[in-house]
Symmetry: C2
Subunit: 117 residues, 2 copies
């Protein structure tokens, strides 16, 4: 059995990206303009990224992820967790929601555990 | 401690993407033209993606990942593993290299364990 046996369709990469960026910004209690300014992008553009309307270039993704004080590694781990919600086989990924040195954002780890239990 | 404490810089997202796509294609013993045809892209374009020269749109990524019989979830998990090689803090991600229903590609799991030991 593999991921192709999942019952729900997977979201597009930019949709997963947007959810993670927005969630992280909200966790930090920041307004679009604050994060956007640090990332060097317009708040309108960041808003489009967060809504999954635009595909970010690797450079923009690096800038926004960095502005949110995440590494690409953390961001990608978040994406794997996010995607595990639509791919049951990824229940195993719930293990990456709480490694010793990683503090999962509110709403990432626990809901995942429930979703994949 | 967090990922920002890592010693190596992180690669760009398209570089990580390219490595995973190429590795997966090689594991399947396919030529660029075969995978590209199924994905509906030119072999030249797929080659650029594999070399990390181009950022794939979410639709293209979905098409290529699908052509390689991976789900976006599997692809993203591979990316998290790939990135863990530059972020020591991600040693914990090595756990996703061998969940019960997931067969990590040759060179993904074990090297990771070594890299993050």
């Amino acid at each position: 059995m593999d991921d192709r046996a999942r019952t729900e369709p997977e979201p597009l990469w930019r949709e997963v990206t947007g959810r993670i960026l927005r969630r992280r910004r909200h966790e930090r209690g920041e307004r679009l303009v604050e994060t956007a300014e640090r990332a060097g992008v317009s708040s309108q553009y960041l808003s489009e990224l967060e809504r999954g309307r635009k595909d970010a270039s690797s450079e923009i993704l690096e800038a926004v992820v960095g502005a949110l004080e995440m590494t690409l590694a953390e961001f990608t781990r978040e994406a794997a967790i996010e995607l595990s919600r639509t791919a049951p086989v990824l229940a195993s990924v719930s293990t990456i929601a709480s490694p010793a040195r990683f503090s999962p954002p509110a709403g990432a780890g626990r809901p995942l555990a429930l979703a994949c239990a």
